[in-house]
Amino acid sequence: MQSTAHAFKGNAARALEDRQLQEALANVPKGFVGKRAEARARLPEFDALRDQARDLKNHVLANLDLYLEEYERKVFEVGGKVHWAASAGDAREIVLSICREAGAKTVVKGKSMITEEIGLNDHLEGAGIEPIETDLGEYLIQIRGEAPSHIIAPAVHLTKEQVEADFRRLHRDLPEDRRLEEVDELVAEARSVLRDKFLAADVGITGANMLIAETGSSVIVTNEGNGDLSQTLAKVHIVVASLEKVVPTLEDACTILRILARSATGQECSTYTTFSTGPRRAGDPDGPEAYHVVLLDNGRSELLGTDFREVLRCIRCGACMNHCPVYQAVGGHAYGWVYPGPIGSVLTPSLIGVEEAGPLPNASTFCGRCEAVCPMRIPLPGLMRKWRELEFEKVPPPFAQRFALKSWAWFARHPRLYQFASGLVIPVVARMAGKKGAFNKLPFGNGWTRHRDFPAPQGRTFHQQWRNQKRRRARS
């Protein structure tokens, strides 16, 4: 996917002007935030589980080679195959060659952020294979030619009315006078359209919420059941997952499952939690004939030795973006690449470089709500600040900004001069405001005063007044 992360500012400005988007975004805090809070309140050990999950994932990351090799061995034992993909390009080629070997014309897909990251759909289409997204949200953005704007609700930027219009435009063989106003009606129509695609597909591709080293299983967590159909009906099942998804045991997977759905949608657990272990065995009623896992690195192993390794604990619940005031204001597309919100602001520069994604870690008020809700206790603001530091070294800010920061810092480091200068300037500024008490325009503060007034200083600075008081006290 071509990144526009460098243009965050412009992307955000357009998003703020987009009335339909703003209408759709209003649902984010209403739905996700309240439901997570309720789910958390119902589980007294929620925060203890977060600690446990954090420690578990830290342990895995410290021993990643060990668990990945164990996982590969198990997958092989149950009749599957693991393919190691160092880069996005490698992963695309591996998937394509498996599809070609299977003689695939169409591929059904469960929801997967990793296949978004590697740009799989375009690659398959280019090779004459039709990928069909079967998650309702992914289906919607696929027919619109868009990218997901949220990691668990990819079409959260759309309104019901937009979906209805798209369905009427695309599903021409259905009666024109059908009702399509309610969400249920839209879901039912998507289901009926997709049903035949499932039956006709040669290959099913899913992501994985976790990979279990002990059993060689992949786990998917869904609410629509489309992932299960994708992975059981086709002859070939391909799992595409990044390597930090591995956990040691089934028990460990359950620890993470207990906080995943609660953090994501506020459900105790999602409607479907499906464990896939190898291809169909003799006597199994269903399942694929072949089971492949494409394990993607794409820069992650390079994060292991750095401060940013903590981001590899992420389980992609979306809680950070649901609670982020910036995400709530501009939506996911403004972030310009696959992963939006606070997690994207840390992960995107890690994966595509801070030169391209520099604006993202800066686009945060550091309110800290993302870290407060993260089930894996990833210190997201701290990691964004680390990116700001690296960016400051690598990509010096524009001259005006640098000059302002440097001169402010120089004064801040010289208290006597600072207080002398502020003692001269501040009373003058206060007089300029007169009796209004605020400025509605400032020569260098247009960004601020375009939208709000700037409170005027009261008069003399605190330090001036304090010194005078002390002098008076000393005299009396």
Partner: protein
């Protein structure tokens, strides 16, 4: 300073005024001094202070952040406690200085010691000095915004509400989401003014829904942002730092408003 021979002096508190209070709203500093003295503290204001260094720290300018942090540590290490009328600046010193200076052979230990004795004003009064009530009067309803750093870095939530409940004549009417960021974010409001504006727009709508004529908070940065927006939108809600009300010092004009308007209730 009082003569140590004649009466037992309270703890020596170094007041970290904060740059915004120093420049924009000194009355908050004097309110803080009054509250601390009423609680029995001996308050001093070291002259060698400017800012806590957050603008540099959050802009990725680590070397200036370190230099400013050292200066603050030097100026405040002699006190029993360091108190700031801001959760953001207190949080900077308390939670971030140890990571900025922790490995510094000369400053590491000193920075940790200053960090451990640094507090946000209101939580210092309640949690350290055991203040349970104030003697102020304020007749009217207020709504309270939980500033992010105070809330999430320092756990300041019930403390200001507990003390406000003891102000004669005052009632707190909560907005629906007091814990949601106001969109200020320091340099964020300058780097991304449009996004910042979208956030503060929602915030002031929530503030107005509380139907209280006065907004209080513990951080001047957030207050300037919200007060500036309330005024631009012509909403009939004033804004003050919580310390002004707790100290009974509300005869100055509210933030971003002109002509000193006296609070009629305060005069009985």
């Amino acid at each position: 300073m009082s003569d140590p021979a004649s009466e037992p002096a309270g703890p020596r508190v170094g007041l970290f005024v904060t740059c915004l209070v120093d420049l924009i709203r000194p009355s908050v500093g004097f309110a803080a001094v009054k509250l601390l003295e009423d609680a029995g503290c001996v308050v001093e204001v070291p002259a060698a202070q400017t800012c806590c260094g957050q603008p540099a720290y959050n802009s990725g300018d680590r070397s200036n952040a370190v230099a400013i942090a050292r200066q603050v540590v030097d100026a405040f290490s002699e006190f029993d406690h360091v108190v700031a009328p801001s959760g953001s600046c207190a949080g900077m010193i308390r939670t971030h200085y140890p990571s900025l200076l922790g490995d510094d052979p000369e400053y590491g230990a000193k920075a940790k010691s200053v960090a451990a004795k640094t507090y946000e004003l209101v939580s210092f009064l309640t949690d350290v000095m055991g203040v349970e009530r104030v003697s102020a009067r304020f007749y009217g309803a207020v709504t309270y915004h939980d500033s992010c750093a105070g809330l999430r870095e320092l756990g300041v939530k019930q403390q200001p509400r507990r003390l406000l409940a003891t102000v004669t004549g005052l009632t707190v009417q909560e907005m629906s989401e007091p814990e949601v960021c106001c969109g200020f974010g320091g340099t964020f409001s300058v780097k991304y003014p449009d996004v910042s504006n979208a956030i503060v727009e929602k915030k002031v709508a929530d503030i107005a829904s509380a139907r209280a004529p006065l907004l209080l908070a513990g951080d001047l940065g957030c207050l300037m942002n919200m007060a500036g927006k309330l005024r631009r939108e012509g909403r009939h809600v004033s804004a003050r730092h919580v310390a002004e009300v707790l100290a009974g010092m509300t005869d100055t004009a509210p933030i971003a408003q002109g002509e000193p308007v006296t609070n009629p209730g305060a005069k009985r």
